[in-house]
Amino acid sequence: MDVLSQLQRQLADFLASLYREGFVDDQFTQLQKLQDESSPDFVMEVVSLFFEDCEKLVNNMAKVLEQQVVDFKQVDSHVHQLKGSSSSIGAARIRNVCIAFKTFCEAQNREGCLRCLQQVNHEHAQLKANLQSLFTLERQIVAAGGTVPAMQ
């Protein structure tokens, strides 16, 4: 069906662009591999969890950084968590920001941390939007009767 193949092509292109631009990396592919008949919405579940987690962490970090005396250790542990989560789902850009974030934390550089936090927020929003488009496309394909092609 033309629509179907068009949609599939669109999906493929979109996914390729995400990879190209570094929004997601190999780990995301792995995640997609884990999606099968027994867990059809695995990726979506994990991604949703990640976004929740991310928001929570960002809020916490914001709170800590607003304090007079910043507890960098706490910030560091949050960043650590975020880094872990983002690595797990393959959110490459966020992870990279976290790495920089960590360095600032160790240097106890408040400004740097705040800047990174902002960046995290930004990336988070972007990724969320992108992934939501991705999921929409996938849903459309499934609705049109096709199957989502597995990414190599």
Binding site: Q30, S77, H80, G84
Partner: protein
Amino acid sequence: MESCNCIEPQWPAEELLMKYQYISDFFIALAYFSIPLELIYFVKKSSVFPYRWVLVQFGAFIVLCGATHLINLWTFSMHSRTVAVVMTISKVLTAVVSCATALMLVHIIPDLLSVKTRELFLKNKAAELDREMGLIRTQEETGRHVRMLTHEIRSTLDRHTILKTTLVELGRTLALEECALWMPTRTGLELQLSYTLRQQNPVGYTVPIQLPVINQVFSSNRAMKISPNSPVARIRPIAGKYMPGEVVAVRVPLLHLSNFQINDWPELSTRRYALMVLMLPSDSARQWHVHELELVEVVADQVAVALSHAAILEESMRARDLLMEQNVALDHARREAETAIRARNDFLAVMNHEMRTPMHAIIALSSLLQETELTPEQRLMVETILKSSNLLVTLINDVLDLSRLEDGSLQLDLGTFNLHAVFWEVLNLIKPVASVKKLHVTLNLAQDLPECVIGDEKRLMQTTLNVVGNAVKFSKEGSISITAFVAKSESLRDCRAPDFFPVTSDDHFYLRVQVKDSGQGINPQEIPKLFTKFAQTQTLATRNSSGSGLGLAICKRFVNLMEGHIWIESEGLGKGCTVIFIVKLRIPERSNESKSPLLPKANHGQSSFPGLKVLVLDDNGVSRMVTQGLLVHLGCDVTAVSSSDECLHMVSQEHKVLFIDVCMPDGFEAAVRLHEKFTKHHERPLIVALAGNTDKVTKENCMRVGMDGVILKPVSVDKMRSVLSDLLEHWVLFDAM
């Protein structure tokens, strides 16, 4: 006067004449009456008299004659008619009886005469029997003597005793004055006086063996009389005054072990004789009787047999002693050898361990060093260190392998594996090196080569790699071809070993691998040396050769263990060479084929782990979910926990693997507590750390708390799959980084 009928005497009887007649008649009558009485008396006395009735007749005759003469007494004077009648009757009777008797005597007397003849005959016979009896008794006595002598001789196996006893017994039986035995000397040219009866220590007289008298005696097996003056007989000073006693000599064959053939009694082959000389007492006028000579001959034979037995016994005793000595020596040598081997093994084992430990440290630290920041110079140095230490480790392993191979303590690890994959892997491993040297490597696997076989994969790979590696090493240019196919029986017999008898059967086949290179080639004379360990040939001992000389030797051992054969063919220097080896592999049974792992080596083992219970400990929700999803995708039964308390609460013996995220603050602590909870190794689940980085500190910590392995996050599906396979196969994970 008137003529009357009375009988009257013619003339008047003269008185004297009448008287004498009267008396004579009387005595005749008396005698005639007494003779029968006597006859009767004596006949009654004797029990043997066949003619009784003749006697009666004779008696009657005589009685009647007597009666007649008695009655005659009355007729001298006037007698009555009665007397005349009686007289007449008696005369008539007498006449009858005497005639009858006369007639009978004609029959009787020849018989009586013949009785006499028979008696004479019997007497002669009796005399003859007496004589014969005497003879038999003598012979029996002789026989008894011989038996006794033989018994005495045979009762001992000691040569000296045999001979002494013989002389003593002979001397006693035959009442000899002297008895002597002359034995041939070692040279065989002389006879030496060895034993005598009377003289205690015979002086070493010798006589040459070629004397005519000796030859005469030796030529026949009979005892012969010899002159008392012959040299062999003149042993003692002349004792008697007159005549020395007769002397007899007999030969005694000396038999050797080699003389006894089964069907060939030593009569023909015997050469050496001893001489036995027997002397009768002087002045006794005794003669050698035939039976005595026979006795001597028999004894001589017995002595020969007894001596040969003694000789055989001596021989076997000597041989047995020799064997025992040799046994003791061999045993000693064996024990020494065993001690030496044990000492060497101990040494090797200790040295091996001692050598491996620092080597391990060097390699590990060098590889760690490699991963740090280094200047190019430093990097080069570290790489060289690593390469050298790897070589050294290989050498150490080789040496230990070889010593184990030699002991026979090395055993093949049989398992099912993919044969094709082995060759492909070898090819892949060698390709980089070969391409650097611009060598072209080709691999040809026969169509009928089974994929799935049972054998020792590691050692087959090692052998193949070694062979191919050598081919690459010693070729400067050209191409290398590896061919592998199933060896048919004709090609099996073609191989060079004379004692290689391959037997094909249904579940075995022989794999033949040929590696042909176009390199330096080998001098055909050098080929046998190649397989001996540590030998370096002239052509191979170049600067570039990094071989320890052990490689081919080990290959040969491995190939032998696999019941095969390896050899090299080369036409000479510069003409390349071909290494061929044949090994025996088993084909798994049909039913196992479906279960055998046909996956290529990279993804070894299972693709899913149904029902494998695992526990995931991670405090990061996302990460935990991803890991859980991953494991679920692989079919495991996953429990995910977020704190170490919860982990320890949930963990049980059913969980086989435990994944701990060590980025967690209490990740290591969880591992420690887990070790405390499960003290026995086999009850504890395998603990694998999921680490964000692989720096030294992390690794050290993992080792410290006793992790079974470390995985770098993020983990791909394939990575996780292979990790689980490895874990379950080996029960330990070698750094899956």
